[in-house]
Structures are given as C-alpha cells and as structure tokens.
C-alpha cells in the first residue's frame, strides 16, 4: 500500500482558523472605499482562501500525483478562456 501522508490535526485547525480570519477580513475591507480595487482585493482574498482549501484540505500539497495538478490547472485555464474570450466581445463592442 502506498504510504499516505497524514496531515496533523493541528495543521487543519490552523488552516481553518486562517480561512475564518480571511473571511472576516474580506467582509470588513468591503466597507472601506478602495475605489476600483475593492473587487481585486476581494477576489485575491477569495483565491487565496481557495488555494488553502485546495492545497491543504484537498491534500494537493502532499500528493505525488502530477496528474492532479494538471487536472486542476487545466480546469481553471479553460474557465479563464471562457471568461476572457467572451469579455473580448463585450469590452470591444463600444469601440468604433
């Protein structure tokens, strides 16, 4: 049997606490006027939270499987293509 990496309970609780703290942070920052950067900050925090869940809770940090990373990256990559190329239409409609 392959040796499973066992992540300690302490690590899980630490990551969980970090995620909760980031939730509070993103909620409070929303009330501060950062102009156009509000969205960027909120999404950055969300992405960081998602990364913590993926790396630690979904064990991607501890896996030897390269396929897992390839699969995750390609999923987000093709989503990015959908968003970017669709926006290439909407953002240029007003151009003349």
């Amino acid at each position: 049997m392959a040796k499973e990496h066992v992540v300690s309970v302490g690590t899980y609780l630490l990551i969980g606490a970090t995620l909760l703290a980031l939730t509070i942070a993103t909620t409070l920052i929303a009330f501060v006027n950062l102009g156009p950067f509000n969205a960027a900050v909120a999404l950055t925090i969300a992405t960081f939270k998602a990364l913590l869940v993926i790396l630690f809770f979904m064990h991607v940090k501890y896996t030897h499987e390269k396929m897992t990373r390839a699969v995750i990256v390609s999923g987000f990559f093709f989503l990015a293509i959908l968003l970017a190329l669709s926006m290439s239409d909407y953002m240029t409609r007003a151009w003349r």
Partner: protein, 235 residues
C-alpha cells in the same frame, strides 16, 4: 504521470473491496481519485458558465448589480461562509480519524458536517424568504424600491436591470444549494456506512473522494460570497 505497474500484492488479492479489473488496491485508489478530480473539473466548468454571465453583467450593468447586492444581508452571507469553512474542517478531521482507524470518531465528524450543511441551508432559506417578502424574486411579482446613498438620496437605477442581479443571485446560490443537498446526502450515506464498519484504516477512499466534492462546494461559495454580497458596500 505515474504508470501503475500490474504487480499483484498478496494482501490485496484478499481485499474484498478490490474490483476484478484492477491489479491492486493502489491502482484502484489512484483511478478513483483521478476520476473524482476530473468530475470536479466538470463542476468548475458547470458553475463557470454562470460566473461568465456574472462577469459580463457586472461589467455592463455595475450600478444595477451593486444596488441589488446591497439588499443582501451581509451577516448571513458571512456566517454561511464560516459555516462552510468549519464543515470543511470537520470533513478533513473525519478523514484524519479514519486514517487512524477511529471509526466512531469518523462517524461523529461526518454527522457534524451534515448538521453544518443543514445550518447552511437553513440560513439560505431565511435569506430566500426575506427576498420573497421584499418582492425581489424575479418574475411578474418583482418590485425594487431603489437604494439610497449616504446622504439619503435615491440612486437612480433601472428596475428591470436590477432584476438581472437577482436572477444571477437565485441561479447561482440555488445551484450551489442543490449541490449542498447532494453533498449532505452523500455524507449522510457515508456516515451510515462507516457506522456499519464498511471503512477502516485500510480502505476509506469513498470518504476521501466525497471530501473532495465537499471542498469544491465550499470553494464555490468562497467565490460567491464576495461576488454576490460585497459588490459595492462602501458607498
């Protein structure tokens, strides 16, 4: 990519969970895990279509979406985010417990996860009821009274465009809630199976893979919260 060699491990042959077309438990586990990750990619693309719609309309109708967002109760959204985060912790603690063979503890954590899932859905139903009462549900009964800035002045926004926000809100959180319900069903089933002794230190792959699904549902909410609730709170 790791090639799984077809070497038969003696102990594996006797493992009743080994399916006939796999050479050993490791190959079976790797296959199941890869299969679940691929399924999660389909979920990312599935929700991705709605994120695309959101992005398009946020860019073209920012004021209308912001007006709609401000009518959401941020407290419930934040609490729900915390609920899901804690439930992801209980999921990984359940897996940790079964890795040490502690079946009863595993069951306990899975049950707590399910309860937290119900809390999430309960809060969502409170929110949906509020939206219904405020006539913010899209359709013939929709009516939006407008938002006000800090000076009490009404911000002009097209009523029909604000309905777009609520369509996105109900579509995205509704689809997310449906996935939560499915997740609750899966976790409950696994709790019962663990209680009956089906899983052990040597075999707990379904719990791991169900955990991956649960975490993805959490991640989707991690994005939905700022995108739907926090569009423009500083005005």
């Amino acid at each position: 990519m790791a090639d799984s060699q077809a070497t038969v491990v003696e102990t594996d042959v006797q493992n009743p969970e080994l399916r006939h077309h796999f050479a050993d438990m490791e190959q079976q586990k790797n296959a199941a895990s890869l299969g679940m990750w691929l399924f999660l990619v389909t979920e990312i693309m599935f929700f991705g279509g709605m994120f695309c719609a959101y992005l398009v309309y946020r860019t073209s109708h920012f004021a209308a979406l912001a007006a709609g967002s401000q009518t959401l109760d941020i407290k419930w959204g934040a609490i729900n985010t915390a609920v899901l985060i804690v439930s992801s912790v209980t999921v990984v603690l359940a897996i940790n417990a079964i890795q040490f063979g502690r079946q009863k503890l595993t069951v306990a954590y899975l049950v707590i996860t399910v309860l937290l899932g119900f809390v999430f859905l309960g809060i969502k139903s409170i929110e949906y009821t509020n939206k219904f009462e405020e006539h913010h549900v899209p359709g013939p009964g929709f009516h939006f009274t407008g938002t006000f800035d800090d000076n009490g002045k009404q911000i002009p926004v097209a009523e029909n465009e604000v309905q777009l926000f609520f369509s996105l809100y109900f579509a995205m959180t509704g689809m997310h809630a449906l996935h939560m319900i499915i997740g609750i069903g899966i976790m409950s089933t696994l709790a019962v199976m663990t209680w009956k002794g089906r899983f052990s230190q040597g075999y707990y792959t379904p719990i791991e893979n169900a955990g991956l699904y649960w975490h993805l549902v959490d991640i989707i909410w991690i994005y939905l919260f700022p995108l739907l609730y926090l569009i423009s709170r500083h005005t």
